[in-house]
Structures are given as structure tokens and as C-alpha cells.
Symmetry: C2
Subunit: 552 residues, 2 copies
């Protein structure tokens, strides 16, 4: 292992060990004014969840195969091989210890290393389940479950991320041979980013423009084999590789994000995912009656998990920064006594405590989103699509708000640890680098806020009509009051009344949305106005999302 | 070299090469409404500076020994060896090409890799020059100039960074042997962070509490040999090593930041740096009449260079993000035409353009600081210390403001490049990771703002007295007007008048300072008030510093 002179590192380990010999937090811990054990249960969600997490975290911590301490100093190749070893060990542990799905998921959480398996289990298999016909599921899923094939999700291209409808890869039906020809017509059509693609995947769900009989039917999914199951070499017509280093030590460099180009690669017709749309033997394009809204249900689910993850990541950073702030002392020694704990400085508190509060707030809003997903799913099954736009806007906005706040918050926690936060041994640099992609994947955060803004503008335009605002936009129903009400806070303590805080957030959000709507109406075309005012619209969307977090 | 499968990377290089074949910016470049060549000269400072930079940058770019493209994927050991090779090559080039001091400095700038030589030339030698007697300089400087010894600057300890007066390492005079005994009495007294210490330095300027005859005379500097000049092994009583990985790929991991502990290490008395204070053969402590204020002159110099560096770092990030925004297109295609350049989106502009403006503003304020340093130096030489407090507060504040804005700005530029900003090939991840320590070294940014705030409170308290506020605080002389004036802007264009903008910044800064001073006066003790109001004081200091940037 390409370590940096193991002998010389010993002094550092000895130093850390000496530091660990005293519980520097013992005094702080005695001062808690709440029941710490009860809070652990609340944080975990239930006693069952807490005990399961506790058990699995100990399992990971005690297994040397899962060590993380050397991760940040490895060169890329060693790092990647290291991840492959861990991934295999996870698989072995799941089988040998007969872990349940829930336990396996926690195990992967604590192993805490992005890997191709995330995409295989989290995107490739769900794509086949969601978009494949029963026959397709019967053929492909057993292979995937046993990892006899390993798959990734090849959507994003070098030139297109947010604008999925602009993807350039083509899948042209050839009625002569009953095949699709998958092709990358331009440089920018190269698939770029898919995790698991660079080195590992044997198969991919590839998104490409479906072309039959000279007509472009837009973007559809296809199962394409990329590499030989015998010797793992790339198949004819396929150029595939790793796209290189990403931000940070360790972090996402354990993942083989890849590039992929097709040169007229032929696949059988039955490898188009045909649950929603079909191409017949004759090359006719047909759509089934499966409601397209179901896709939005999946988005609500994925974004709900991202909000929960935000809370986890932020709480880890806040935990490190809080402990450091209690242990670190600087200045303020009087008569030769101890210096002041930095947690007692107001400048430290004013930066740290709002992040601590946010970590809890995101935890609770994440729980509420789980409820929302259940509710939406039940309604969808009953063909009730009425709450879907509101639920979609709400999860899009919360995904954006919580991931931005978490990424910024982790970096702020790093700064709150002074110079020590710059060392990888603080845990913060890698936590930041591995977290920030959450601001981009599953919807760029600015693009998502613009979607929320569109929904808000629609809501404002319908005020006064028969269509009452529902759910998280219900406060808009009181827009007349909110536009003219004044905050009657007289003294600082008045802010401790939740109703005062709520009304302030509601009034702000309502006023910003209404102001945007009024300014929009001055433009000749709504699209021109939307483009011109987009910075204001984003601010209005943020105000709305902050209100949701405060209210949950 | 531990590269990640060179073959598979080829596809990526081919992709980048294909992208380079077209000048995607040609159209944008034709639209410049100013003289680009004239601007290059202004940015560089002079035609001479521009031509020198241009020549040296080409020298570095064309020399394969200075390649940077593999830096982010190397393991720590390879990376460090790589830096040693480059450092030796720089030294060889300087000698073989007979480079001037100015050219050598530019060469190091473009090689762009933190190394032990930064500390040897930038801290070790200046410390001996500034604090050593003539005899000490005569003995040590020739060795250092020829790099027959290599030195670092061992000030910061595990437990003390900002509070230099709290350092714990001791230097106890032993009159029996005419020696100092250098010792690390506690774990927290371990020297921690010095660059060049971990692996390379043979010597260090060590800061330790001087103790003679049982009395503690505070922190002083000592030259201490750490490693053998024969076999580079650490000397008896000295434990030394590297403190491990730091934030980011490449970045500061090319530097051997170190840990150092002393177990009763003896050095001759003449290795205490004795320009300002002396210890006699009998162990008597004496101070010379060299004014202590000279130290502040050096601080003004160092911080002035940090402000210039901020402008360089931010402009690199802004340049990458601006070019990306012009090339990248997403959404907005009409009738099958090209999509919209992302630089045309208001959401992109509202985040990018203020950073572009800041890069220029920091460039000009950096030039002004050079003038300030010259002015202060001339006054100091004439024993005029009157402008020193103002100059000190000004540089402290600008160091804090510009480094914070630059660190945040680089990360914002990275986000403005969407997913592509997360790839090391964008250059932004390493730029961020290598830049952020500037927020901590040479004065933690929050601690510096509190110093500015103290100076502002003193200035406010002296208003109305005979002592008129000078330099960057001159506006405080118009405090009565600024407290009651109202902004008479009627329409958006009014903001284009510089005087309107200036008065708005002045009024804000004055009001915040006066409000803090009034609130401070309500506390029984000023120190208690300062602690309690420190978050507000920091905000007032930021407002003052922003005014300085706007006014220069």
C-alpha cells in the first residue's frame, strides 16, 4: 500500500492516542438539560432503528476490512482496488450473516464509501423494475440480483445534464434485422459521469433518442451490454473509460464515473425498456396507458431520501465542530487559569448553533417527507393526481434547500475548527468533498428552485379562483392578510412564540411571490419575464422552502 | 508512477483534445468593448510585468518537468517525491538561466505547488534577517542562501495558533553551560503545522517561552538544528514527523507540514535571535531600543501580498467559470436551433458577475496596499508611528475580507460549472483546496475582524476629541451627517453615480460602528460587552472593510 512513510506517521498516531486518553467532553456531557438516551431514539426514528444502527455501526467499526483511516492518502489505483475489496466484503457479510434488507442498507451506510454497487442497486435495477415489461424483468432481474451482470445508469452526456430532453445519443430502429442501432453522433453526445461505468459495469440502461421510420420519439431507455462476460473487455463499437479525478481525498474517487461512446452498436429490439412505450416488429411506435405521472412518484421518493441524507451529513459535521469547540481553548486566560473554550465565544456560537438547529430541522422535515411520499403513493394508486404538483414542487424545493445548506454548512464547520479542520484527520474535508455532488445530481439546485418558482407563480395566478391552494401552499389562501399584516414584536422574547415566527416566514414568502407575479405581468411574454426575473424568482422559491422547513 | 490505468484514460484525453480543436470562445472574444491588450497591461501592473509574466509562464508550460496534469491522482508519497523533483528543477533553472529575483519569483508562482522552499525563503530567512543580530545573520544567512541548510518556521503548536502569547514550548537558560534547554512540557505544546518541518528541514526558527533565573519573559525565537547534515536523521531529543493528509487532491499535500517535540534539547546561547532582546552570559534579560513597532511593518507587508494573491486566485476561478458559462449551453433551443449559453441566464449572471467585479476590485486594492506599505515604511524609518494603527487595522481587515470572499468565490465558481466543476480537470477543486488555508494563516479571519472592530470602537470613542480620524477612517469625521443622511436614489440609474454608492457604504459602516459603541457602553465592563456583542462587532468590521474596497 502506497502509504507516506509509515514510520514517520507513528508520532501522529501517538499524539492522537494521547489525546484520546482523557474524555475532554465529560464535563460538557454532564450539563445536558434533556434526556440524551431519549433523544437518541427520537433522532433514529424509533428504538428499533436506533438499536439496529448501533449494532451495525459497531460491526463496521470493529472489522479491519472496513478501515477508513488510510483512504485519503492512497493514489487513485490503490484507492479503487481498496473499494473493490470492501464492496466484495460487504456482499460476503450480507450473505454470511444473513442480513435483512434493512440491515444491509445500514451496513452500506456505515461502510460509507461510494461504489459501483450504489448505481447497480440504486439505479440500474430500479430502472428495469420501473420501466421494464414483466418479461424484461423476468429475464434481467435475476441476473442483476445475483450480480452475474453489473449495471449502471447512462443518462447524462458531456453536453447535457439538466436538459434530459436534449440528449443526443440515438437509438435507430432497423426493421431489416429487428434491432436498434445505438450511436453517439457528436462529441457532446458522449455519456459522461455515470457511476460504475468507467471500470466495472457489464451492462447499462442507456438513454437515447428513439428513431423509427425517420421520426424522433424523444428519449427512451435501452439495456445495452458494454463488456464481455468472459474477459471484461469492451464489446465492438464501444469505447469506455474512467473520467478521472474528482474533488477531494478519497471521497468520490472510489467511484469509477465513466465516459462511453457508441459506434453503431446493435442490440435486439427487446432490449428497449417497453413498459410505457413500445416499438413493434414493424417499427411502429406505441404508448401504453400506464400513467406518466408515476415517474414523479419515484422522484418524490428519491428526493425524500436526499433530504434525510442531508440531515445525516450535516449532523456529522456539526458534531465534529461542536466537540472541537468544546475542547479547543484559546485566549482569555485569567490569573494563569485555563483559556476560554471557543464554544463560549459568541462569534463561534452565531455560526455553529444555527447549523446545529438546521441538522435537527432537516431530520424532522425528512421524516415528514416520508409521510408525504406514502400519501402521494396511495393517491396515485387511486388515480388521484391532484396533490402531485404540490408534492413535486415541495420535494424539489426541499432537496435544493437542504443540500445547499448542508454543503455550505459542512464547509462552515470545517472553518469553525480553525487550522485543524484542514487536516483530513478531522474528517471534514472528505465529508465536504463527498457531499457536494448532492447539489448537482437528481436536479441542479438552481434549476429545481426555478421549477418551484413556476409552481408558485401558477399558485398566485389561481388565487381567488375556485382552485384553493393546498398543502405547503395553503398559507397563500391568506394572502390578503399576509400582504398587509405587521409584525407586533415588542421585545426579544416575543420571537420565542412559534406563531410570530411562522407568520413572519409566511408574510415574507407570500410578499416575495406576489411581487414576482406582479413584475412578471409587466412583460409582453411570460417566458421573457421569467428569464429576466429569474434571480428574484429563485429568492422567492427559497423563502417558500424555508417556510416549509420552519413549519414542519 | 501510480497512475490509474493509463490506457483507459486515453479516451478522456482524446475527448479533451477534440474539444480544444475549436475555439468555442471566438465569437465571445470579438464582442469585447474595451482594448484587451491594454487591459492585460493594467492587470499586470506594467508592460514590463506583463511581458515578464508572459515569458515565464510559457517557460513553465513548455517544460515537461513542471507538468501538473497528473498531480491530483498521485498517492501521497509519489506526490511528495514529485514536488521534490520540481523544487530541485526550479533551483537548477534559476541558476542555469541566471534568473533575476523577480523572474525567479514568477517562476515559483507559475510552478504553482506549495513546497518546503516557500517557508525556507519566505519565513526562515526573513526571520533571521528581521530578528537576528548582524553576527547571527553573517553566520546563518550564507548557509541558507546556498541551501546548505534548509529551515522552517516553528511557531504554531497543537494547542495554540491565534494566541501566540499562549505558546507552551520552553527555552530555559542554563548558566552552567551557557545553553538554552528547549523542551515540550505538554502534549499541546507539540509544534504542529509548520511547512517544511515534516520531512525536509534541517533547522527551524522555534518560538518558545524564554525562561531565565526562574522568570518567564514571554515568547522569543531560537535557531534549532533538527536533523543531521550527514544522514538527515533527527537529532537526539527531537521527535519529528509529517502530520498527514490535508484537504484536497494535490493542493497542500505537496507540503510536509510537520509535528515536532523536544525532550530537553540543548542549543548554544547565541542561537537565540537577539536583535530585539538579549540574554547575557550571566543569564540577564535585556531589551534593545529597536522599536517593537517594526514587527507591524512586516505584518503590513505580508498581508499586502496575501491580498494580491487573493485577486490572482479569484481571477483564475472566475476565468474558468466565465469561459465555461460561455461554452456551455442548456435548454432554450427554439426550432431546433442551438440552446442558450448559460452565461445568458440571469441566475448565472447574478452569481458570476459580482465575483468577476471582486477579482478586479481586489487587484486594485492590492496595488493601493503596496503604496500603503511604502508609506508606512517611510514613516517608520522617520520614527513616525502615527498612521501605524490605522494601516495595521486596514491590512488586517482587507486580508480577512479578501481571503474569505476568494475562498467562497472559488467554490461558487466551481458550482457555476455544474457537474463539470467537480472534476479535477476543471482546475477548480485543487484551486479551492490549496487556497482555503489563507483564511486561517497569518491571522484567523474572524480574529482579525475583531481586531478591526477594536480599532473602530477606539476611533468612535475619540470622535469629537482633538484626534481626527485619518486614512480609511476619515469618513468617521462626517459621522453626524452619515447618521442622519438619507439615500436620495429615485431610479435604478441613480446607483451608477459613484458618490451615491460611496455614501451608502459610508453611512452603513458608520451606523453599524456607532450602534456597537452605544451598545458597548451599556455593559459594566468593556471586555464583557465586547465578548457579548462580538458577532455584531464582526459585522461592523466587515462593513468598514467593504467600504475600503469600494473606495479604492
Amino acid at each position: 500500500m502506497a502509504q507516506f512513510d509509515v514510520d514517520a506517521m507513528e508520532i501522529v498516531w501517538v499524539t492522537y492516542k494521547e489525546m484520546e486518553e482523557v474524555d475532554h467532553l465529560a464535563h460538557e456531557r454532564t450539563k445536558a438539560q434533556f434526556d440524551v438516551d431519549a433523544m437518541k431514539i427520537i433522532w433514529a426514528g424509533s428504538r428499533h432503528a436506533f438499536e439496529l444502527s448501533d449494532r451495525i455501526s459497531r460491526l463496521v467499526a470493529s472489522d479491519p476490512a472496513f478501515r477508513k483511516d488510510n483512504r485519503t492518502m492512497l493514489g487513485r489505483k490503490e484507492l479503487f482496488k481498496n473499494t473493490l475489496r470492501k464492496t466484495a466484503h460487504v456482499w460476503k457479510q450480507i450473505i454470511e450473516l444473513h442480513l435483512s434488507e434493512e440491515e444491509a442498507s445500514r451496513l452500506r451506510f456505515y461502510v460509507d464509501e461510494p461504489a459501483f454497487t450504489d448505481l447497480h442497486w440504486g439505479m440500474f435495477i430500479p430502472a428495469i423494475k420501473g420501466q421494464g415489461t414483466d418479461d424484461q424483468q423476468k429475464k434481467w432481474l435475476p441476473l442483476a440480483y445475483k450480480m452475474q451482470i453489473i449495471g449502471c445508469y447512462a443518462q447524462t452526456e458531456l453536453g447535457h445534464g439538466s436538459n434530459v430532453q436534449g440528449l443526443e445519443t440515438t437509438a435507430t430502429f432497423d426493421p431489416e434485422t429487428d434491432e436498434f442501432i445505438i450511436h453517439s453522433p457528436t462529441l457532446t453526445s458522449s455519456k459522461w459521469w455515470p457511476g460504475g461505468l468507467g471500470k466495472i459495469s457489464t451492462h447499462a440502461v442507456v438513454y437515447a433518442r428513439l428513431i423509427t421510420d425517420g421520426r424522433d420519439h424523444g428519449v427512451h431507455g435501452f439495456i445495452v451490454q458494454l463488456r464481455s462476460l468472459d474477459d471484461h473487455s469492451s464489446l465492438p463499437g464501444i469505447t469506455v473509460g474512467d473520467i478521472g479525478m474528482k474533488f477531494g481525498n478519497g471521497a468520490y474517487n472510489t467511484m469509477d464515473n465513466g465516459v462511453l461512446r457508441f459506434d453503431h452498436v446493435r442490440i435486439p429490439r427487446d432490449q428497449m425498456l417497453m413498459r410505457v412505450s413500445q416499438v413493434t416488429r414493424e417499427g411502429k411506435y406505441r404508448q401504453s396507458d400506464v400513467p406518466r405521472q408515476l415517474v414523479y412518484g419515484t422522484m418524490v421518493y428519491v428526493r425524500q431520501t436526499i433530504v434525510s441524507d442531508a440531515s445525516c451529513a450535516l449532523s456529522r459535521a456539526v458534531c465534529i465542530a461542536t466537540r472541537y469547540s468544546a475542547v479547543r481553548r484559546q485566549f482569555g486566560s485569567q490569573n494563569g487559569g485555563q483559556e476560554t473554550q471557543v464554544i463560549d465565544y459568541k462569534t463561534q456560537q452565531s455560526r455553529l448553533f444555527p447549523l446545529l438547529a438546521s441538522a435537527y430541522a432537516f431530520r424532522f422535515v425528512g421524516e415528514w417527507l416520508k409521510w408525504l411520499y406514502t400519501d402521494v403513493t396511495q393517491r396515485l394508486q387511486a388515480n388521484d393526481f391532484s396533490t402531485l404538483p404540490e408534492a413535486h414542487a415541495c420535494t424539489a424545493g426541499l432537496k435544493s434547500l437542504t443540500t445547499t445548506a448542508t454543503a455550505d454548512g459542512i464547509e462552515e464547520c470545517r472553518k469553525l475548527c480553525g487550522g485543524h479542520g484542514y487536516l483530513c484527520s478531522s474528517g471534514l474535508p472528505e465529508l465536504f468533498a463527498v457531499y457536494v455532488p448532492a447539489c448537482t445530481y437528481e436536479g441542479d439546485n438552481v434549476v429545481l428552485l426555478l421549477q418551484v418558482a413556476r409552481f408558485l407563480m401558477k399558485t398566485v395566478s389561481q388565487l381567488g379562483s375556485a382552485k384553493q391552494p393546498v398543502g405547503t401552499t395553503a398559507y397563500m389562501g391568506r394572502v390578503e392578510h399576509l400582504l398587509k399584516c405587521r409584525c407586533d414584536v415588542q421585545k426579544a422574547e416575543d420571537w420565542l412564540q412559534p406563531s410570530v415566527v411562522m407568520e413572519a416566514f409566511e408574510a415574507r414568502a407570500a410578499r416575495m411571490s406576489v411581487a414576482c407575479a406582479q413584475n412578471l405581468s409587466k412583460f409582453a411574454s411570460p417566458e421573457e419575464g421569467f428569464a429576466e426575473l429569474s434571480a428574484d424568482l429563485v429568492e422567492a422559491a427559497v423563502a417558500h422552502c424555508q417556510l416549509i422547513v420552519v413549519s414542519k
